[in-house]
Amino acid sequence: MIDSLLSGISGLLLGLGCFFMLTGAIGVLRFPDFYTRMHAAGVTDTLATFLIITGLMLTAGWSLALFKLGLILLFIFFTSPTASHALARSAQHCELKLPEQSSASDPRSPTSTESPPPPAMPTETITTLERD
């Protein structure tokens, strides 16, 4: 009884994870510019990985694999949003920089975040990420 329930939930989570992964991939292909694409990839990637690993954890049972999957989950939870953040930030440093009013969604310590002068940065760093 409890086994079939667990495998049902885990199947549901795996299916949802695959669905979000797919929507993320479609988003990366179809969205018009760098930031929307990165949004599609970043958000769905974290959520889908979370769902898939949780689904796998439910089937693993009480074992070492469960513990390892939990560690991977924790790791992805830290690294995946950070990677998206770093990507968006480095895009702000090159010619993909957004106009001022939309990048003002960054309230903490203006002296430290705004001080690197963007014009001094090289323009060739990320350019190809948005054109294909």
């Binding site: 390892k68 830290f78 950070t82 990677a83 770093a86 903490r108």
Partner: protein, 354 residues
């Protein structure tokens, strides 16, 4: 199902390889090389070669794209086209590829029992490993003990590669050292990256130690552990700047350690030679041959790990110092961070394999 997975992985490998050859932008090619490494790691996984898959994930998908990106930061990301040379390369590659494809017809089928690789020494390794070496992971016992001589050669190759990079970039290093001006951009100002890096570096190091000392029981060993350990340092260097990471492990120390690893490996060999057995025959190290093997394997894996980690960190130091000499250097740092998070991803993904 297995066949379907194999076909999908191989098709993706083919597509990635062709797009690497076709793409003009070298940074994108470096990223694709990382994807190629990850895909081949997955392919090795389906073939059951877990140790090789782990090495491929750590080296091919993890640190080598990072080093390539550092190189591109030094010498520019645009490919300088040379049509004639490309045609020459194509003329060379096509016949060689055709010959290789023809040669596959004479190869035994995958996993065939009468293949030469299965007939010669492999049965001995599989049947006697537990009695002679006494560790569960046969791959480690073959790599570290039966084929210890070959592994010694591999470590020396890595050490030599480190020496090569050192001798090429050492000159500018010497100029750079006395006039260290605190570059304003050398440290990433981003608080998210700094906090996350601080949170993650300790688990990465711990995982490297786990891989190092768990190599006898599961997939892992000195090579993978060394790379993961170095990634921890490189992550610190990318986020907090070269000066900060040099305060933790100075350039001289890293240089010294890269030689110490080879020295440990070689002296284990000489020790067994001194006790009357042949070179790298660890059974001479203790009164009980099996525990001698244990001691020997742990010692040489430690040597491998130290050399690999030290050489990788040293190459990063040299590249980063070179990059700082160029005025436009540090601005690439946030870009590297993305690559490195990818590396860390891989490190975590491989925990499942262990």
């Amino acid at each position: 199902m297995e066949l379907l997975l194999d076909i999908a992985l191989l098709a993706l490998l083919l597509i990635t390889a062709i797009s690497i050859a076709g793409i003009k932008d070298l940074l994108a090619a470096a990223m694709l090389a990382g994807i190629y490494g990850l895909l081949s790691a997955g392919f090795f996984m389906t073939m059951g070669a877990v140790d090789v898959a782990f090495t491929e994930a750590a080296v091919g998908a993890g640190i080598s794209p990072l080093l390539i990106v550092l190189t591109l930061a030094l010498c520019g990301r645009q490919q300088r086209g040379d049509r004639q040379r490309a045609m020459l390369a194509l003329f060379l590659v096509l016949p060689v590829g055709a010959l290789l494809i023809v040669a596959t017809h004479d190869m035994p089928a995958f996993g065939a029992a009468d293949a030469p690789a299965q007939m010669h020494v492999a049965p001995h390794y599989i049947q006697q490993s537990m009695a002679e070496i006494g560790i569960p992971n046969i791959v480690t016992s073959v790599l570290a003990s039966y084929r210890g001589y070959d592994t010694f050669g591999e470590v020396v190759v890595i050490f030599t590669a480190g020496l090569g990079v050192l001798s090429l970039l050492m000159r500018s290093q010497g100029i750079d050292e006395p006039t260290v001006e605190p570059a304003p951009n050398a440290q990433s100002r981003d608080i998210v990256l700094r906090v996350i890096a601080k949170v993650l570096i300790a688990p990465i190091m711990l995982y490297a130690l786990y891989v190092q000392f768990h190599g006898e029981y599961g997939p892992g060993g000195g090579f993978q552990a060394g790379v993961i350990f170095a990634v921890g340092f490189i992550l610190y260097g990318l986020v907090f700047g070269l000066d900060a990471v040099r305060r933790v492990a100075s350039h001289g120390l890293v240089q010294f350690l890269s030689a110490v690893g080879v020295l440990i490996y070689g002296s284990v060999g000489l020790l067994s030679l001194a006790s009357g057995k042949s070179f790298l025959d660890y059974s001479a190290l203790a009164s009980n041959p099996v525990s001698g093997q244990h001691i020997g394997i742990i010692a040489i894996e430690l040597g491998v790990g130290i050399t690999v980690a030290a050489v990788m960190i040293m190459i990063f130091y040299l590249f980063a110092a070179q990059l700082r000499l160029q005025p436009r250097g540090p601005s690439l740092t946030p870009d590297h961070q993305g690559t490195d998070a990818g590396t860390a991803h891989l490190a975590s993904q491989q925990q499942g394999a262990g």
